[in-house]
Point group: C2
Chain length 276, copies 2
């Protein structure tokens, strides 16, 4: 999906919400375990209930891989279901891959040709040749980890060089030599609201994928205040806060309501920024 199309969807739906499809077999409503593929059944119901309120879905691969072959089948069916029934959704494989060149190329093939998602998250540690094989696919995106929202993000991402430039800033400035803002986004954690100012200093035009709103404690208002740009430039993800809003038979309805709430907040923020 091209940037213009993503931005059109954001304006039309008045939402920059991404729903994290992280189904844990131990947490999904128990009545779904009777289904042939419980993870897919869960995802399908969540998708149908939340699709009017979001513009993107982000399955985290760990939740599928941890089930082996059955998990991969659930992932493939989920992506196929989205593409056939909700073709306006931007699909992000949250895989955090990154390997030497010829290996990254295999991952690129796997995610962009075989699975055919719109974007994949990539870890930057191994540098240029671990990232560039994912580029050059028409309408496909790399979403590079920059500043993550977990506690351990401080261990290395904030290390300063002799000029006070932090590692995550190196990652953002260096990687912009490899790709344009129309093919690369950055993961920026929402628990560090004021950091968005620093991020916009080095990435004024890039879309940011923001995890950590909700369960991980970030504030949507702060993210919008510091991170929003004229064509929005934000995708804010919520996983647990939506998909586990209820553990009963009404789980999908409850998920829809949570997504709607976030959409309403996002709509107000888009309006106050005169984007819509």
């Amino acid at each position: 999906m091209k940037r213009t199309e993503l931005v059109e969807n954001i304006k039309r739906k008045e939402s920059f919400l991404c729903v994290g499809l992280d189904p844990d077999i131990k947490k999904i409503p128990q009545h779904l375990l009777r289904e042939e593929n419980p993870l897919f059944a869960f995802n399908k119901a969540i998708i149908d209930a939340t699709a009017p309120y979001c513009v993107a879905y982000k399955p985290n691969l760990a939740f599928y891989e941890s089930l082996g072959v059955e998990g991969w089948i659930a992932l493939e069916r989920t992506v196929k279901y989205l593409k056939e029934n909700h073709p306006d959704q931007f699909i992000i494989a949250d895989a955090k891959r990154g390997d030497i060149g010829n290996t990254s190329m295999l991952y690129a093939r796997s995610f962009f040709e075989h699975l055919d998602v719109d974007a994949i998250t990539v870890a930057p540690y191994m540098g240029e040749d671990s990232v560039t094989p994912f580029l050059g696919y028409e309408g496909k995106w790399v979403i590079l980890l920059a500043l993550t929202s977990n506690k351990g993000s401080h261990d290395f991402q904030l290390i300063e060089d002799k000029n006070g430039k932090r590692l995550f800033e190196h990652v953002i400035t260096t990687s912009q030599k490899w790709a344009t803002p129309d093919e690369m986004m950055y993961v920026v954690g929402a628990t560090q609201g004021s950091m968005f100012k620093d991020i916009r200093n080095v990435a004024p035009q890039s879309f940011l994928l923001v995890p950590g709103v909700g369960a991980q404690g970030g504030s949507l208002e702060e993210v919008a205040r510091y991170g929003m740009i004229p064509d929005c430039g934000l995708l804010v993800n919520s996983s647990r806060g939506i998909i586990y809003a209820s553990s009963g038979e009404d789980f999908a309805e409850a998920a829809g309501k949570e997504a709607e709430k976030l959409r309403d907040q996002m709509s107000a923020l888009l309006k106050s920024s005169h984007i819509i």
Copy 2:
């Protein structure tokens, strides 16, 4: 597998060779495509031919994932075959994973409980809580990316802080607060032979997994000179140089011969270091 057992195997087999099981469907001998699962058939033949000369196998997950469900089946069958027929082999899932805590926990379950390999490679960018969920499994190992052998490794891994300490050195010193040398190893690329001295300054007791000997251009003698410690402390990986030694029907025999050559070199190095 515990460290003492790994070291016993190295001494008994006079080898610290790890064979990379990176089967590319486009490169394996064409007559194997008639097999029910060509990747597994290839791996099985390679394993039977090389097992006398190595102590470890390292399947790189990308080669399996890129084939979707069929690839996962090949991986699971390969690991099962190794455990049943060559139980003295140390099995490394080269996955380069790393995610927030609860997600890394799922990966740990997937690789250590479901697939039941001995070790997994982990990317350090997200810090402590992305790594520690892989620890605490009896006899299982984390192999953390420190200094990789690819060109892009220079982009971030060599960035110096104000005291001249490089990122890969931060990764090694910080991560030693999380785990002992009996449960954590480091990936250190062999194309940078002299760097092994710097690595041993910060990781005097750790095992190092060394890719890049052979196809990527590293020298075995240099690695041993600077990297070897009293219980060896090295696993040197070769993938393409062994598994694609021949593309004909004699591919397994040719792979065995290449592995034997490396074993002979390693045997001499272990003897000259008085380890055996």
